[in-house]
């Protein structure tokens, strides 16, 4: 017998082959995650600010890309020059030839602002109510000292705007609705009482606006006088500054501090500048909420379906057809589910709910527009086949001897299912849930039709009654990636955000899955056996 035939017979070749394929898959996964992490995580590290001389004058910025000469094209370097309000764009390509020496001036500063992106240049002076307090390097030092207080004031203003003003607005809106009701009933006394209340609210509102105005003026007192590399001046109130980074004058430890603070801002803050800056916390929160609501909906739906199909339905062609149909649901493009969710849940169900229970606030829709409930329901429908299949498998894997033991004790079929079969099948059901989460957390298309928005004014879970606002629109990491990367006017600046958001989306899916895996492990330990 030849050696090759012998090897084939022993299967060694196939072991090698499957091993190689496994290694290939692993390499793909590692490079996917590695690429995303490398592209995203580096973005927050303060890069040096480089100054060069071009034909149009001096240019100061971070070097972001480099294009070697190719044919006719000469070598080019991309600078992030910032100052969108002055130059009109953040990035600039310049030919590498004739740039002169690359300097790293110590006094160059990158100022992250609330508006118009970062300013890159120098701090000329710091003034308080028009009076210059410090100039040159001393101004930077003084400004750095004053910054925490200015930021605190800014957050204070934001919290008043969000909290108290929002609260008052809600109450005024409620008053408007009650007025509508009373007008319909022509209740004069009630209307008079309402007017008094409305006057009170208006007074409170005016007072709040007054004190807000005061704080705003206070916040504007300190002003930075900035100067670009080519000599243009710019004023910026200290209250509108997020961070000042004199990257060339910093040691590695200071840079690490900036890095961590930027990372924290990214994970925990609201977005700014049409999502290209600031954080993406609302998107993380919305994703997690949506997946949780979806899980709560999909498990009962899938388990009950599987229970009936497996245990009660008479096995025949009809059940087989239903099973095939359920499995095929998993193959329907997700956008189709989105269309269904929009037509059935949002307009159909939501519209009916509005007409029945929220008729007062019409024509403004409450449930008759996209919201987290409808998005979760749509995704639950999308992922229900996974749960059905897993549950059916798990039910089938419960030993018949245990069912018989229960029935022989005089238990009814339902008691047997509930007390013996379902507990044993729970780990298998959780396997289905894990797969459903993995599928559901990454879906974007159906969400765009059923409730995801670019920027949600309020979270679906907050401190105002009834705490869970299932009617609210929400933000989602998947949609955020699409929006920031491809719908933003400043997509070059948003590129790192895309990678970071992708990384966070992966992280969210992994964490949610780990959570479910842990739950399954604990259940298995309690059950003692290895049923599934």
């Amino acid at each position: 017998m030849s050696r090759l035939a012998d090897r084939i017979r022993q299967g060694g070749i196939f072991v090698w082959f499957s091993g190689a394929l496994l290694a290939f898959c692993l390499a793909m996964i590692v490079s996917l995650v590695g690429f995303i992490v490398a592209k995203g995580m580096g973005y927050f590290w303060p890069s040096p600010l480089v100054q060069v001389q071009t034909a149009d004058g001096p240019l100061l910025g971070e070097v972001t890309a480099h294009e070697p000469a190719r044919g006719e094209e000469t070598e080019k370097i991309q600078f992030r020059v910032g100052n969108r309000d002055i130059y009109g764009q953040d990035f600039r390509w310049v030919p590498a030839a004739g740039l002169g020496p690359q300097e790293r001036p110590k006094d160059a500063v990158l100022v992250e602002r609330l508006e118009y992106g970062p300013f890159i240049g120098r701090i000329a002076s710091l003034s308080h109510e028009g009076q210059e307090v410090a100039t040159g390097p001393a101004a930077l030092e003084e400004a750095l000292k004053r910054l925490p207080e200015a930021s605190r004031l800014r957050r204070h203003i934001q919290s008043i705007e969000k909290g108290q003003v929002g609260d008052l607005n809600r109450r005024i809106e409620q008053l408007r609705l009650s007025r509508k009701r009373l007008e319909a009933k022509a209740d004069a006394a009630g209307l008079a009482a309402l007017d008094a209340k409305a006057a009170d609210l208006q007074a409170a509102y005016d007072q709040l606006q007054g004190s807000l105005e005061q704080i705003r003026t206070e916040a504007k007192a300190w002003t930075l006088n900035l100067q670009t590399a080519d000599g243009q001046a710019k004023e910026c109130p200290l209250g509108a500054v997020v961070r000042m980074v004199p990257a060339n004058a910093m040691g590695p430890l200071d840079k690490l501090g900036v890095y961590l603070s930027r990372l924290w801002e990214f994970a925990a803050d609201d977005p700014r500048e049409s999502n290209t800056e600031g954080g993406i916390f609302p998107a993380i929160f919305g994703t997690v909420m949506m997946v949780l609501v979806m899980s709560v909906l999909v498990v009962p739906l899938g388990v009950v379906t599987a229970l009936y199909l497996r245990e009660y339905a008479k096995q025949g062609w009809l059940v087989r057809a239903v099973r095939v149909a359920v499995n095929n649901l998993a193959g329907v493009p997700s956008i189709v589910f989105g269309v269904f969710g929009l037509g059935f849940f949002v307009y159909g169900l939501g519209g009916s709910i509005d007409r029945l229970f929220f008729a007062d606030s019409l024509p403004t829709p409450t449930f008759g527009t996209g919201g987290i409930l409808w998005a979760s329901l749509t995704l639950a429908l999308l992922t229900v086949p996974v749960v059905v299949v897993a549950t059916e498998e798990a039910l089938g894997a419960v030993p018949r001897s245990q069912r018989e033991a229960s029935l022989a004790m005089g238990a009814t079929k339902w008691q047997t299912l509930w007390n013996v079969v379902l507990p044993s099948a729970t780990p298998g059901i959780l396997t289905g849930l894990i797969l459903a989460i993995a599928r559901g957390a990454g879906e974007v298309a159906p969400l765009m039709l059923t409730g995801v928005v670019k920027l949600a004014p309020a979270m679906p879970l907050d401190g105002t009654f009834p705490f869970f606002h299932l009617d609210r629109k929400f933000m989602h990491l998947g949609f955020h990636i699409y929006d920031v990367g491809f719908q933003s006017p400043n997509s070059e600046a948003a590129k790192p955000m895309v990678f970071m958001a992708s990384f966070l989306l992966l992280l969210v899916v992994v964490v949610l899955n780990l959570f479910a895996l842990n739950l399954r492990r604990k259940l298995r330990e309690r059950l003692g056996g290895s049923t599934f």
């Binding site: 018949r400 033991a405 029935l407 238990a411 009814t412 007390n419 003692g528």
Partner: protein, 296 residues
């Protein structure tokens, strides 16, 4: 998946003796009817707990039990013996209607538990199974704690009074000779027990609802000799309170624990009577051949 399929998987091994159709005096059905109650006066004198009358059972077209007539006396142990596929497990499962769970089963004849005809249309299967507990070939505790396994029968009857449950669990575990071994770990998973302990737990579980009859389907076939001896001792003790029907492949076990023995072959009851008589002086050649190990 564990399937205790009671259906015969293969035709039983042929006799060394000539086939029954040509054997003189071997017309099993007729023989069983006239012979069983008459030859053994003690069966007649003890009050009858279970009575099987002209029972026929079909799986689809295939007849699995033919004209079975049998009586089990109160507080006695009845052993069913016979080669694999002879229908003894099927008959056992007729006694608490576990065969209802299998599609395509047709049953003719009567089975009386006390005065109740268990196949009468008005009989409540659930209530019946509470009167006839069952212990299976392979121990099958639920994936719950030891306590919850034993309390299961009472819980599904709606009993939730802690004191009643505690009392029943202790009484049943003591009845099954398991109390001393597990009393300190009632909250532990039942699947951590050894095989013999698990089987005794299953017996305790059956005892908890205080049945009248306990049906045991080869309860020791998966146990080692020591665990088997413990279960056998237990059967002799339980006899004082319960009526026991046990299916076994082990001749010595049948001889040790049973008062009466019934020998089945190919779905027919060949002979039944006092165990002593069956094992020392059987009425049928076939019985003797089987018991002495010449076939089967």
């Amino acid at each position: 998946m564990e399937i205790d399929d009671p259906r015969p998987v293969a035709e039983p091994a042929p006799f060394h003796a000539p086939p029954p159709s040509s054997a003189p005096g071997l017309r099993p059905a007729a023989f069983a009817q006239q012979d069983l109650p008459l030859t053994d006066p003690s069966v007649l004198s003890a009050p009858t707990m279970l009575r099987v009358e002209r029972l026929n059972l079909f799986y689809g077209q295939k007849q699995a039990l033919t004209d079975i007539d049998l009586q089990v006396a109160r507080n006695s142990v009845m052993a069913f013996i016979g080669p694999s596929g002879c229908g003894k497990s099927t008959l056992l499962r007729c006694l608490n209607r576990m065969n209802d769970l299998i599609d395509n089963v047709r049953i003719e004849g009567r089975v009386l538990l006390g005065d109740t005809d268990i196949y009468a249309p008005e009989t409540d299967v659930i209530a019946l199974r509470k009167r006839a507990g069952m212990v299976f070939q392979k121990s099958n505790p639920f994936p719950k704690s030891i306590y919850e396994n034993v309390a299961y029968g009472l819980r599904i009857q709606g009993q939730s009074d802690r004191a009643v449950l505690d009392e029943a669990v202790e009484r049943s575990l003591q009845g099954a000779g398991l109390w001393e071994e597990v009393k300190d770990r009632l909250k532990d998973s039942a699947q951590g027990l050894s095989g013999g302990q698990q089987q005794r737990l299953c017996i305790a579980r059956a005892l908890a609802v205080r049945p009248e009859v306990i049906l045991m389907d080869e309860p020791c076939s998966a146990l080692d000799p020591i665990a088997t001896a413990r279960v056998e001792e237990l059967i002799l003790e339980l006899k004082r309170e319960f009526t026991i029907v046990i299916v076994t492949h082990n001749m010595q076990q049948a001889a040790r624990v049973s008062d009466h023995t019934a020998f089945f072959w190919m779905g027919k009851l060949i002979e039944s009577g006092l165990t002593e008589k069956m094992f020392t002086n059987p009425g049928q050649r076939m019985t003797e051949d089987y018991i002495t190990g010449r076939f089967g």
